[in-house]
Amino acid sequence: MILKIFGVAVVELAVYAALRRTHPEFAVLTEIAAAVLVFLFAADSLGELKAFFDETVSAAGTDPVWAEILLKVLGTALVTQFAADAARDNGQSALAEKIEFAGKLLMLSLSLPVLKALLQLVAAFSNGT
């Protein structure tokens, strides 16, 4: 599988170099297509990881809401990284910063319930002593 990913990367670099001078917009598109392809190759094994993750979470017996939030934050981080790198690679560093800032805001808002629960826990402790 890694050989496939390596193959896609090498071919894409060659095509990108060829197209960069005459038509940079098509070069960018091949770059995005290659990024998507590489991730799709890697995504096959993602399903098993998710099944294992669900198993361990249910075995641990904790409230599945936390695992859900964890996965959501992970997913947002992944997609934000994907978009920001694509933008930064083509010289749009300002756009990349904005994408990352929006991603951070989303992740923070997603993890709000966790922070609340933590604060309640701390408050309960301080009342106890």
């Binding site: 095509v15 197209l19 917009e25 098509f26 297509a33 998507v36 799709l40 995504a43 399903g47 997913g75």
Partner: protein, 64 residues
Amino acid sequence: MDIEIIFRIAAVGLIVAVLNQVLSRSGKEEYTMLVTLAGLIAALMLVIPYISTLFGYVRSVFGL
């Protein structure tokens, strides 16, 4: 789900390059921009299904 999408986009790029050459040689420079835009849209139409499958997959795994 394979590597030929990169070749397809490269092919669209090359076709647009050739067409632009032909157009500029025959004196119709104003059409080169249109041909480039058409090529760009065609290439986008090729990439978007791949991106949608990827995001569908991410949505299903991460529950976004």
